[in-house]
């Protein structure tokens, strides 16, 4: 199993831990943001939009810049006050499902709205082979409804273990996702899947699993500031069997600690990009979500 490869190193900006790669805004001007990250809507105060625009634009400027162009890693101080205006719709498979519990807790503690739209045994949007296509159809049907009803500012999609198809099909599907997000007034953030055990079930799709993050990164490269790709290998590494990957006994999902680690990592990245201050882990990491039975099903404590 190979996890996402760093496809846009020359454009990356390092987070506090130096481990994060945003690949959005590849061709953008280094000093001027090309767009507002939060699409203005009638119901939002113009001042809030302006503040978010400035804060997010500053982050994106760093994303597109090379060394020495003034990477901005902290959100604008005023931006966190407007975090409540933001909403994240989270999409993926059951790996995303176990991450959704602390991610929702972390984002809500940070004042960001969150809806979990992940699906156990499904969740892919890739209209690829005969296995993934029916799953994708079901995901798209639900997603269209949720985009219309929830009106998120950010559609966050974690590449699933079922993103099976040719690289062309994968890319076309991610482009379709970006378009759907854009039409709904949302940004798209695609995050690579964690490394997971490629057992007999997944073995015949190993090439698809490897090509999916590359296709996603290309879409982010091509789509400017509207689409971002987050390479989670910085958090998990690339070896599913290593301690860093924090997989549960099944080698695929994460237990509470690993899920919380992802929530912290991803919330920090979203905070940096969208200008809000992530709540510290002691405010959410030991909340009621740790007792969810999903983890017990995985053999976690």
């Amino acid at each position: 199993m190979t996890a996402a490869v760093p496809l846009c190193d020359e454009r990356m900006t390092a987070g506090p831990g130096g481990d994060f790669r945003w690949c959005a805004g590849a061709m953008q001007n280094e000093t001027k943001p090309r767009r507002t990250l939060i699409r203005p809507r009638q119901r939002r105060p113009a001042a809030a939009v302006a503040a978010l625009t400035m804060a997010a634009g500053a982050v994106l400027a760093g994303c597109g810049g090379s060394a020495g162009t003034g990477v901005r890693s902290e959100p604008a101080p005023s931006a966190s006050a407007h975090a409540k205006d933001k909403k994240v719709l989270w999409l993926g498979d059951s790996i995303a499902g176990v991450e959704a519990l602390p991610l929702g807790a972390a984002l809500k503690a940070s004042g960001v709205g969150f809806r979990n739209d992940s699906s156990d045994g499904g969740g892919t949007i890739v209209e690829g082979d005969k296995m993934s296509l029916p799953i994708a159809r079901s995901t798209w049907k639900r997603l269209r409804k949720d985009l219309a009803s929830y009106r998120p500012d950010v559609l966050a999609y974690q590449i699933t273990t079922y993103d099976w198809g040719t690289p062309q099909q994968q890319r076309a599907s991610y482009e379709k996702l970006a378009k759907a997000a854009g039409n709904a007034g949302a940004d798209l953030v695609i995050v690579s899947a964690p490394p997971f055990k490629v057992d007999d079930f997944y073995k015949k799709h190993a090439a698809d699993i490897e090509s999916a993050p590359k296709a996603a990164a290309k879409v982010a490269d091509a789509d400017g500031a509207k689409v971002a790709f987050a390479d989670a290998s910085a958090l998990w590494g690339t070896d599913a069997g290593a301690a860093k990957a924090q997989r549960s006994a099944d080698g695929i999902h994460s237990c509470q600690q690993g899920s919380a680690a992802f929530a912290k990592w991803f919330t920090e990245r979203l905070g940096k990009r969208y200008g809000f201050a992530p709540a510290p882990p002691d405010e959410w990491a030991t909340g009621p979500w740790v007792s969810n039975q999903r983890y017990a099903k995985l053999g976690c404590k």
């Binding site: 059951s94 156990d120 045994g121 079930f201 600690q257 882990p281 030991t286 983890y295 017990a296 099903k297």
Partner: protein, 373 residues
Amino acid sequence: MLLFHAGYLRGGFLGVDLFFVLSGFLITGLLLSETGRAGRIDLAAFWARRARRLLPALVVMGVATLLLAWAFGSPSLLAFALDDAPWAAAQAVNWHFIAEQVGYWNASDTRLFSHLWSIAVEWQFYLAWPLVVLAAGRGRRGEHRVAGLAVVGAVASLALMIMFDNAVDTTRVYEGTDTRAFSLLLGAAAATRPVRARLARVPRQAGHVLCAVLACGLVASWALTDGQHAPGLFEGGMFLHSLAAAVLIAALAAAPDGHAGRVLGSVVPRGLGELSYGLYLWHWPVYLLLPPDVLGFGGLPRTAVLIAVSLAAAALSKRLVEDPVRFRARWATGRRGLAVLAATAVVAAGVWVAIPQPRLGAGTVDVHRLMEP
């Protein structure tokens, strides 16, 4: 099943399929016999007999397992046991597991009652099938109608299995009453006069060869089927297994004195058959409550201990619970039987309520570790 659950016989799960076929054959034979004799079926008496046969051992195993899980099990084992118990009591736990996607999560070994899905399927069959036999089985061609309905139902069930087949999560096809009904219905068809008459016309020696070939074929399928993801399993493979089992059972009933009949009717298979219900009920909780870290050893020695403990529990269940209620307890029949059943349900529910819900996930997140760079 015992070997399959111990990780030694990859196709051993097909034993449940054989059990369904056998059950369909026996129950339908009894129902048709009563129809032929009395011209009707006393449904209340039928269900009461089924309850006396199945519920006492089930209740004892269920309550004991809850108490053992409370005393010795992990918090997650207890939590799931408490969650699943009402569904098991309602004989609908298979649908609960389908909703929970236990197959997708590969979570059977976190649930002490996960094996009870097949008992639930049995009960649902017991509730529905006698009504069909009652409606269709009377009259001169009653058994032909029952055979026809059973075959049509089996084919429809196969179609549902193919329709719901999903490589990602097999729980729906594996545990659905509708998708597994073909095993029971093929067994039912095998018990009808038209099928028995056809098999009776098979020359005796040919019948013996047929039995031997089918028995060997079934054993080979258990050895060669590579788990529940075996190709074609849910696209006709399991149906063929059921069909072979149904023909074997009917052929053995027609000519029981061949080699296969003598082997299957010998002391050990008969003894295991008499213990089979208790063995099935007890083996899975025993397996989960005695993991390698509790016993201090694994592998074959652990399997031997697990099977020995399961056999002992099954023997005790038969001697102290099943046989007394079936053959000796006058209080287990009629209105007194209903009252005892209600009192037992109250006691079991009381145990279920009294056991505190365990706290899952406590101390699983180290915040300081999260803060590390």
